[in-house]
Amino acid sequence: MIRIGIPRALLYYQYYPMWKTFFQELGAEVVLSSPTTQTMLSSGASRVVADTCLPVKVFCGHVLSLVKECDYIFIPAIRSVQRRVYNCAKFLGLPDMTKAVIPESPPILDIDIDVNKGKRVLYQAIYKLGRHFTWDPLKVRRASIAAWQAHLNYRELMSSHSLTPPQAIEKMLGSSEVEPKTHSSHSTSTQGTIAIIGHPYLLYDEHINHRLIHRLEQAGNKVLTPEMLTTEELESAIVKLVGRAYWTYEEEVVGAGGHYLESRIGGVIGIMAFGCGPDSLMMDVVRRQAARLNTTPFMSLTLEEHTAEAGVVTRLEAFLDMIYRRKRKQVEVCV
């Protein structure tokens, strides 16, 4: 059986159930890299050029960990998933960049996803990818329909059951796919509700964000994430704030940020990667909106490989204190 390696990084969090279904339908075995470790991050960082962002360094670390484990590595080049919406250059060139910096990598299966070029080109691209496994176009068609259905189920599961991507993947594909959760001790009393916004590869990679969600939950908070919102909710917030999205995945930052800032919750925390151009522009839109509304506390955290745990912890503690003390004051005023 052909083994297809999928790095647990970048777009994995958005599309893993879809990719896995597609390859399994075509009779391949999917090998997933394990959760990010310091070793992966260091090995990835040692390969790329200096100004590469943290998520791409993590991605290369995952690819390196798969080198001897599979026959092919699947790295799509996602140019655009919506008309006239653009993706970061690092996503466009991901397969080529990986080939250049990891020459020992098994052959890379890539696919160009660009909806600007129309459906026909997209279908041709999918067929071209499927041809690695079968010459039967009908079989590829069936696999892609099943994959798309898996994707829709995945999205639905997250928005209707308020699940994070790791939780939804565990529910759909069984527990072996996600790292075991050590913390089952959810605090009974909910101190507040905190929304975290940003790209899933930052929000759910516990290594690079220093277990942010875990820390918030330990402090007794309910945590909301962008995936728990419906596409309509995300889009209407984007329309309100910037008119129309320019960047692919803008809904994870501007859409979710705009929505949560107006939904009467304790606070919103924006997570971004140091050196990410699109993030710095999008997060600023959210920051300005937070200042304009002046109702919901907002804080942004920038992650890079030198981010010390102490820095994250101190900021989180101060942010939560700010929310609790504000709440207490409001209660006092009411009484």
Partner: protein
């Protein structure tokens, strides 16, 4: 007399403040940390014991600052609080109408925005320490003068020169260049102070709504040249409270006072005897997973008191005790 002790263990200095039941400052101590946080906490406790009258009873202890967890384990803290909350609470105690708190310490700097007595926004410097006390210290050392002299001479400047303050490395080469061009030392020094203030406002203060009254706290507030540069840059009065250098410790003491009154529990303070105990620190690499975390541990006579530094909860059991 019931008293409350706040300990602020920063990267450069360690501060202690004792408040009485009316939140009046009884005594305070300001020591250099010198990279020895445990010894300095012990030394500070020893000095406090000497300064306090016999009737004084410590009814609550809180720690803050970058070594707050370590110090908390050593003294048996009732409360471990982050620096931002502590600084804000202390500022509100002295200047209740405060809207902006500027705090510049040895290695980090903060801005806290307060409206109607509650914190609404804050910012902290990131990995870069340009724009903090160490930056000035370093330059003073290079010019072979102490920091008091730097402050005094900078105030004599007539026409300050422009120094690039974005990075200590650039600032230094800029200063050398200006020296070699024949500018007066005083003008270069004040230019340096202005650079620090600009750097602070552009980094930490970026996007923050700075409104008066503005309170300036932290060790760097001793430096009159920086106060002047801030006043000129912000075009507003800068209030330096009387005990600006120990505000973090005062805030911690205020918070633990409030906490102890609310909880009605007895203090977990281990007593002044901890200054005599020999603590032993060590570290090891955890091999439980590929992350290879560096675990630091604190022990007395081979008995482990606390362990931390891991990315998971495997070793941090003792902290919750």
């Amino acid at each position: 007399m019931k008293t409350y002790l706040g300990i602020d263990v920063g990267s450069v200095t360690t501060k202690f403040a004792v408040l009485d039941e009316n939140n009046e400052l009884v005594t305070n101590i300001y020591l250099p940390t010198q990279g020895k946080p445990i010894e300095m906490v012990q030394q500070g406790l020893k000095q406090i014991k000497q300064q306090l009258s016999n009737g004084a009873d410590i009814c609550g202890v809180a720690t803050t600052g970058s070594a707050r967890y370590l110090a908390g384990v050593i003294v048996g803290a009732d409360l471990v609080k982050n620096e931002i909350t502590s600084q804000a609470v202390a500022a509100l105690q002295y200047i209740p109408q405060v809207q902006t708190v500027i705090e510049i310490g040895g290695q980090d700097s903060k801005i806290i925005i307060i409206r109607d007595g509650i914190v609404t926004d804050f910012g902290m410097n990131t990995v870069c320490a340009a724009g903090t006390g160490s930056f000035l210290d370093h330059q003073a050392l290079r010019l072979n003068m102490n920091i008091e002299e730097l402050s005094r001479r900078a105030l004599d400047s007539q026409t300050p020169v422009r120094i690039a303050g974005r990075c200590t490395v650039f600032a230094e080469s800029d200063m050398v260049h200006k020296q070699q061009m024949g500018h007066r030392t005083e003008d270069i020094l004040y230019g340096l102070c202005q650079a620090l203030v600009r750097n602070y406002l552009n980094n930490v203060g970026m996007g923050k709504d700075i409104q008066p009254p503005i309170v300036f706290q932290g060790g760097v507030a001793f430096n009159q040249a920086i106060v002047k540069a801030l006043r000129e840059e912000l075009n507003n009065e800068i209030i330096v409270p009387p005990h600006h250098e120990v505000m973090g410790a005062i805030g911690a003491a205020l918070l633990v006072h409030e906490e102890m009154v609310n909880s009605q529990n007895g203090s977990k303070f281990k007593g002044f005897e901890v200054s005599e105990i020999k603590y032993h620190t060590s570290s090891f690499e955890c091999k439980a997973c590929p992350n290879l975390c560096e675990i630091a541990q604190l022990s007395i006579n081979g008995q482990v008191l606390a362990q931390w530094g891991g990315r998971c909860d495997l070793w941090e059991r003792s902290q919750s005790r």
